[in-house]
């Protein structure tokens, strides 16, 4: 009886992230579909980007992969990359905030716009804050007993995933500063500098984990920890190079005359 109750609870905890992803995706697609009927329209590429992000997230939260991630640290790293970097990048490119603002009735739209202007959003959407939330969070997770604790608590486990999804989203948005309008007007050089710091700090973390055998006390063998540290190192490289390529591709799509100004000045 007890075991059965535990299993149901486990299934629920495993099921709700997938249900939430499905709900958000249906919401996005319905809103995008409504925009297609208006004069301003909505780019199909954005819809595809959102779907891709949702698929990557659904893949990460699919029970077989989650189970693999739970007992294998390399699996955890692969999932972490999907949840914290690749899926959020795709979602950012889908401009969900712009879609929300266009879809909501005026009063609701104003409230959301006011929230986006709030000090809280201004603070967390700054590239440096987003960097600290993202990479700082990884230092805390892997270099303290937090990771081991998360293996025993579903709530903590899901809270950590949510943290990295949100932090990853904020980071990608802060670096790209488009297509949703960013509350900050920072030069391309500054944002590239933050991306540089991000690559450096995550590769230092990878080497620290490899050399010191973190996270400790997980029951994983040292070989497995090292393989996971290397996966984080190279996988993180891939994600951040991809972000840099996207950032510069968007820059190259701007009119020739404006590129120089974007590089150095704060105009966005």
């Amino acid at each position: 009886m007890h075991a059965h109750g535990h299993a149901t609870q486990g299934a629920l905890l495993e099921g709700w992230p997938l249900a939430l992803i499905a709900l958000v995706t249906v919401g996005y697609l319905a809103a995008a579909n409504r925009q297609c009927g208006t004069s301003s329209g909505w780019s199909a590429w954005r819809g595809i980007a959102f779907l891709m992000g949702s698929l990557l997230l659904a893949l990460a939260f699919a029970p077989p992969l989650m189970a693999w991630a739970h007992h294998d640290l390399r699996g955890h790293m692969a999932l972490h990359l999907l949840i914290g970097m690749f899926a959020p990048l795709a979602w950012v490119l889908a401009a969900p905030v712009t879609l929300l603002l266009r879809t909501l009735p005026q009063a609701g739209g104003r409230r959301v716009a006011a929230f986006l202007q709030s000090r809280f959003i201004r603070c967390v959407s700054h590239p440096i804050t987003a960097l600290i939330l993202n990479i700082g969070g990884m230092y805390v997770l892997y270099l303290t007993p937090l990771y081991t604790a998360s293996l025993d608590s579903s709530v903590l486990h899901n809270a950590i995933h949510l943290h990295f999804l949100l932090a990853g989203y904020l980071f990608c948005w802060a670096i790209l500063a488009e297509p949703d309008v960013s509350p900050h007007r920072l030069s391309l050089r500054f944002r590239l500098g933050v991306l540089f710091a991000s690559i450096a700090t995550h590769s230092v973390l990878g080497k620290l984990m490899y050399s010191q055998g973190w996270p400790r006390g997980t029951g994983h063998s040292l070989e497995e920890v090292r393989a996971a540290a290397q996966l984080m190192y190279y996988g993180g490289d891939l994600a951040e190079v991809l972000l840099a390529v996207v950032l510069l591709t968007l820059w190259l799509r701007r009119p020739v005359e404006r590129r120089e100004a974007l590089l150095t000045s704060k105009a966005s």
């Binding site: 690559i199 590769s203 230092v204 620290l208 490899y210 190192y233 190079v241 840099a244």
Partner: protein, 154 residues
């Protein structure tokens, strides 16, 4: 390749530096792919590395990754604006490759001691070949640089 004589200095300078970045990134990629992955002579981590080495290694790694991306996009930008000075870009490419190779061979391997070229052997010969190759690349770069300078004047 070059349009207005007035815009020559900035263009050649930017073409040179963009290609230097690409050269650094390409050499770093060769190092990573050939020596770390294929030959497996280099190790992911050398346990003789001092703590400072981990930090400088992280910074260098970030330079390598971003150099190639930023360099390629700078060249694309220049070429779209028809302001790419090809002779200068080639000079920069070789100077970047040779400069990085020499930096890696002297600073990383010998001074910071991040890792050696190959383990379990006397590294002297390997160091000589490594840094010799760097010198050859640099000399090609210098030769191309002088040629680019002459062609710009003439």
């Amino acid at each position: 390749m070059m349009n207005a004589p007035t815009s020559l200095p900035t263009d050649s300078k930017r073409s040179l530096w963009a290609a230097v970045l690409v050269g650094i990134g390409v050499m770093a990629a060769v190092d990573e792919i050939v020596f770390h992955q294929l030959l497996q002579w280099h190790h992911f981590f050398d346990f003789g590395t001092p703590a400072f080495g981990i930090l400088s290694d992280g910074l260098l790694h970030a330079v390598e990754l971003l150099a190639v991306v930023v360099g390629v996009f700078m060249l694309l930008d220049l070429s779209q604006r028809k302001r790419l000075a090809t002779p200068w870009a080639w000079a920069g490419f070789f100077l970047g490759m040779g400069g990085f190779q020499l930096f890696d061979g002297l600073i990383n391997h010998k001074i910071l001691r991040l890792h050696q070229i190959r383990y379990g052997v006397d590294p002297l010969l390997y160091d000589l070949v490594w840094n010799g190759a760097a010198a050859v690349l640099l000399l090609i770069g210098v030769w191309l640089y002088r040629r680019a300078k002459q062609s710009t004047r003439g």
